[in-house]
């Protein structure tokens, strides 16, 4: 068995368990089974590249991080002087607001735009410095893989000049529920309460999205 099938095999069990857990918690309908739409969405947006977490684990982007989960995704880099520290601080507040859901059903991912400098050790230090709790992974990888991810996930500017300016990188936090194909985004510097509330609206079926 090569590494790819091994990883794929490993992820089947947690996903099935999660679907079961959702029903057990009172989900009135089953989590949508694998469907052509879901497969098309995966193929278009979620390359299954290998990344390394700040804890040093190798993971596949789709199989291990996205599939079957409710997630947030943003891009950052540790040497970013202004906007990244502010966004990270803000997301720490979001993590606190989401409480125990993070790491159980909601997973937070921050992908470095500077993989050459941001090794797992550097990212680990950064996470520690910001008092990041478990359930939130900082990710690095091969520069070309990171670039593919950045483009596929839509963290790009149409203007190529702007797109090259790392200081002005897209600071959005994409949030979504992969099995349901519910995806939207909040700016990383929006009010933390608002970001947490927005994420909670795709935390189905724990939270049913109704207004106030």
């Amino acid at each position: 068995m090569d590494r790819r099938t091994l990883l794929a095999g490993l992820t089947v069990a947690p996903f099935a368990a999660m679907a079961y857990a959702w029903e057990a918690r009172g989900g009135r309908r089953e989590v949508p089974p694998p469907s052509p739409e879901r497969e098309a969405f995966r193929a278009r947006y979620f390359p299954n590249v290998v990344l390394t977490t700040h804890l040093g684990e190798k993971v596949r982007f789709y199989d291990d991080l996205i599939k079957g989960k409710i997630v947030t995704i943003n891009f950052m880099f540790t040497a970013c002087p202004k906007v990244c520290p502010r966004i990270t601080t803000n997301l720490v507040k979001v993590q606190k607001l989401l409480g125990h859901r993070v790491g159980r059903d909601i997973f937070m991912y921050s992908i470095t735009l500077d993989p050459e400098h941001d090794t797992p050790a550097v990212l680990k230090e950064f996470a520690k410095m910001h008092h990041v709790s478990p359930g939130w992974l900082f990710l690095t990888g091969k520069p070309e893989d990171i670039e593919v991810l950045r483009r596929k996930l839509g963290f790009t500017y149409a203007d190529p000049r702007l797109d090259k300016d790392k200081e002005r990188h897209i600071g959005n936090v994409r949030y979504g529920n992969e099995p349901l194909l519910w995806w939207a985004a909040c700016p990383g510097l929006a009010h933390a309460e608002w970001i947490a509330e927005s994420i909670s609206w795709v935390d189905w079926p724990k939270n049913r999205p109704t207004g106030r």
Partner: protein, 605 residues
Amino acid sequence: MYHNVLGKRVSRARFKEIITAMRNRQELIAAQLSRRDLIKMGLLTSAGYLIPKRGLSARWESPIPDDQPASPPTTPFVEQLPIMPVKQSVASLSPAPTVCPNTAINPATGFPFEGRTRCHQAFTQFPPQVLYQVVQQPGQVTMSPQLPTQTIWGFDGIAPGPTYHQTYGQPILVRNVNNLPLNNGGFGINSVTTHLHNNHTPSESDGFPCDFFAERQYYDQHYPGVLAGFASDHPPHGDINESLSTLWYHDHRVDFTSQNIYKGLAGFFLLFNQFDTGDETTGFHLPSGEFDIPMLFADKVFDPTSGLLFFDTFNLDGILGDKFLVNGKIQPFLHVHPRRYRFRWLDSGPSRFYQIFLTDLNNLSAHNAFWQIANDGNLLPTPVQVKSVRIGVAERVDVIIDFRPFAGKTIYLENRLEQEDGRGPTDNILRAGHGNLLLKIIVDLPTVADNSVDPATRPQFYSLPSATPTPRVTRRFDFDNSNGGWTINDQFMDCNAPRFTVQQNTVEHWILINSSGDWQHPIHIHFEEFQILSINGHPPAASPLVQTGRKDVVRLEFDTTIELFFRFRDFLGRYPMHCHNTVHEDHAMMLRWDIAPVGDTNRNP
């Protein structure tokens, strides 16, 4: 490795483009257009190269190919323009509508029956006389005979939804029932809120972006059918000069509006009164009945393999389609009588701007004039003769076209505004025949009676309310982009935090600023109509593009500062201002403001 027909090596992206061009050529051949027609339409150069059309988005230039597919070929002008049915009322609703929300728990869901959370503020004063029930639900439609059946989400399962007719003085209540499924087929979310754009609606019925309700809940919306000013400067019936005509309704679910409208949740809502009567023998004598046709424009992309509707969920700048739909069909046709018609045009987005001309492919140099009679939902004081109209997302224009001079001919509605990505148009007007043909109009039906008014006689409609009163406060709003998030005054959307409070029954000026040359924003302010006081220091133009009149969306073009005049009257509560490029809107270019008995004077909220 890929090769072109000459055996030359080309990139994969270029190869795909060539394939697309070939498909489009087949599509055009299928349309039985001659080589001469193709050249005239700008689809073939005289050297015989087909000009590629493709699905466009801001991401299409990405070095990674196939980020945005080009739609499969479709033959234009083979299906008739659909006319949406008029929404029919019901005798009663069960459970009966109540002033305060029906919070009884539905045993089937464990949640309240109704998703509304605030009481109706004008229900007792304007008790509903007509009741409607509309269901948000999936539907099966065909948009072109060459594409598979599409699953859309529509009001009553059709897209566009049914057309409502309301008469001023007759309050109505619309019960929205959410029957949308959990499975979205790729995009969209099954919690919704319906905004009636831009009715004079109490806040709790306005479809505020966070007043969304869940599947298997309902939400009662009360539309009092009353003119602005009824409780303030024009008691007791309101100001006749604030009459509205062409409105539309659409989903406004925060963060998901672009997906849900693209999926079909939009329709027309028309208001009538003793002047705009719906009968061309009375009142203003505007073309009526079968001669009054609402047209909802939308541009979409279809997956090249499956042929199914495609939405680029991860786009931030705006989404352009390569297929142009009118009333839910790709490039339909319409047979007309040689007489006057009223067309009500709406740009339903998600991101495209249009400049619409009448094109005769056999006489491209002709300027085919017509009459613009309304800006957004508001009749102009008198018709204005135009050669084109420009509309951004959510803008409407009502026009009168006299087809007598075209008897026996075929003409096209053509969008000649060049736009290459979702950020805004280039402002280049393409040559006649080189734009996007939207609708083929064949003037071959028999001559019939025409009791409608001749716009050339300059009939007078409503007067403009005065815009001279001194504002209580002048507020400034800068529309920009910060690290990929769309901002207003450097801040982002938050439903929970009103950014400022307008004092009820006062006048304000709002200054909207776009200091970018990279993007444009069609800005919409809910609840009250405004008048443009100035654009970059100049008074609004009466022609060639009509900037005068009352409006509810203003195109904030490149490097533009616009000052608006408002009166805020009658109702209290929360409303939004937002960019109506729905992709910008969903990426935080929105703010909440409130109306209260006591307001603030925050000049940079």
